[in-house]
């Protein structure tokens, strides 16, 4: 390869990289391609765990994500809620992050639209600050923690966190590990983690060890769950864009390496730009 070309290919202008990435992400959003979705074992495990919950049981759904993570967490939350509502499972919605309440209200509105009665089939708990302390207190005595929660048939039926058939924790941070440490471990409550992509490597050991019943991770996990639950939504339409974006990144890596080796052979040093 021409040494000058090799150097140029190792130092492609960021603006070109960003422009092409923008195009690869934008085109599928305007014209969906319908690319297939591969189902991972951890998403399948999450689906099967939720599918096995009998009708009428109660699930605790905590969320601590905000607008930054909503693009990944919200579609998976909606898919899971669709599944739970279809199975007539009761839900206690608990915003454990300051920015999560509006997203929990979307789930509450889904329940209302499906004919769920507030107080009997679903409730929304109030937000309490404290992060890990809140999870620790939920594990110790949830009723005492939410003492100011208005009485209702659903809330009165819960005496302890072990009365929940399952706990779903949706977050972009460490709250899944707080839930594992204070609720999943000591109280043996089944937990499914709904997480952003970069947390998958962190939570994979817990899933492998059987401490997590399943993981739904990133937009791809949300798309997988929408496929399994037959509830197509924003995730499936976003996956086309993600697929093309990944291909562009892989192309850049290949081009960069070919140019790097070519410049090594000819003795010129392009090097990665700083």
């Amino acid at each position: 390869m021409n040494p000058e070309l090799a150097t140029k290919l190792q130092n492609i202008d960021r603006r070109i990289i960003y422009a092409v990435l923008f195009i690869t992400l934008a085109i599928p959003m305007l014209k969906p391609l319908g690319l297939p979705v591969n189902i991972t074992s951890w998403t399948k495990a999450a689906y099967e765990t939720i599918d096995a919950i009998p009708s009428g049981k109660v699930v605790l759904f905590t969320a601590s994500f905000g607008p930054s993570q909503a693009a990944e967490n919200q579609p998976m939350g909606i898919a899971v809620m669709t599944h739970l509502i279809r199975k007539k499972v009761k839900v206690v919605l608990d915003p454990t992050g300051a920015e999560a309440l509006p997203y929990m209200m979307v789930y509450a509105n889904m329940c209302k639209a499906a004919g769920y009665k507030e107080g009997e089939d679903y409730i929304v708990l109030s937000y309490l600050a404290g992060e890990e302390s809140v999870f620790a207190a939920i594990g110790k005595d949830i009723k005492s923690l939410y003492a100011s929660q208005p009485k209702s048939p659903l809330w009165d039926s819960i005496k302890d966190v072990t009365d929940f058939a399952l706990m779903l924790d949706s977050s972009g941070g460490p709250s899944n590990r707080y839930a594992l440490a204070h609720i999943g471990g000591p109280k043996k409550v089944k937990i499914i983690a709904l997480i952003v992509g970069n947390l998958l490597t962190v939570l994979q050991p817990y899933y492998s060890a059987g401490q997590l019943a399943g993981i739904i991770s990133a937009l791809s996990g949300a798309a997988e769950y929408e496929t399994l639950a037959k509830a197509p939504g924003a995730a499936l339409s976003g996956m086309d864009a993600q697929s093309l974006g990944h291909l562009w990144v892989i192309f850049l890596i290949v081009v960069g390496n070919i140019a790097y080796y070519s410049s090594k052979k000819t003795g010129t040093r392009g090097g990665a730009s700083r």
Partner: protein, 209 residues
């Protein structure tokens, strides 16, 4: 004054820390009751800490305006938007239409826009970092490419093996590495926590050991 700023926080930390640690190991009812009370007090304290945090933000921006430090005119924007949104939440409640409107049409687009820059930064970081300079970087490149292709439908359409190998990489070498780092980090956190409880760590009080 030194007692209030330095010694009292250390003693409070010691008493609270010892009770919570003891409650992990011993079932004595008074201990469990105290630890439950401490947890609930922590939740209340966290709420007050949030309020204190906002008061601090207000104070910092107000001082910037007062002493005309840095880009002090922008501090007016910060304070006015902070106070306005606070009043919207206070008057209408956090489930009100006005609160949801500001959250959905102002806060969310701003947050999502800045966060979306991550995609572009990740692209250039991968392009720069995934150069095969030695054995380790070759392994990094191969594993990264397999997982990227295994995570998308196009990859599994090209070759089903990508999905299988992605599962193996996530379950075996990646999990092993993360477990090791987590154990190390947890032990480090135990060390720091233990020193804080015993009052040997005073960095947060402005002093070293």
């Amino acid at each position: 004054m030194k007692f209030l700023r330095s010694d009292l926080p250390v003693w409070l930390g010691f008493i609270g820390g010892i009770i919570m640690l003891a409650a992990v190991s011993f079932t004595a009812k008074p201990l469990q009751d105290y630890s439950k009370a401490f947890l609930e007090w922590t939740v209340v304290l966290a709420a007050f800490a949030m309020a204190l945090g906002y008061a601090n933000v207000f104070r910092i921006h107000a001082n910037r305006i007062r002493f005309q430090r840095g880009k002090w005119k922008l501090s007016y924007v910060a304070i006015i938007s902070m106070v306005l949104y606070f009043l919207v939440g206070l008057v209408g409640g956090t489930k009100s239409e006005a609160y949801t409107y500001v959250f959905t049409y102002v806060f969310t687009p701003l947050s999502a826009t800045v966060f979306s820059l991550n995609a572009f930064h990740m692209c250039t970081a991968c392009y720069r970092a995934f150069r095969v300079r030695n054995m380790e970087s070759a392994l990094l490149l191969i594993a990264g490419t397999i997982v990227m292709l295994g995570s998308i439908g196009v990859g599994t359409a090209i070759w089903k093996g990508f999905a299988i190998w992605t599962g193996w990489i996530m379950n075996v070498p990646s999990s092993a590495g993360i477990r090791a780092i987590n154990i190390g980090a947890a032990l480090g956190a135990i060390g720091v926590g233990f020193r804080m409880i015993l009052g040997l760590e005073r960095g947060h009080l402005g002093g070293a050991e």
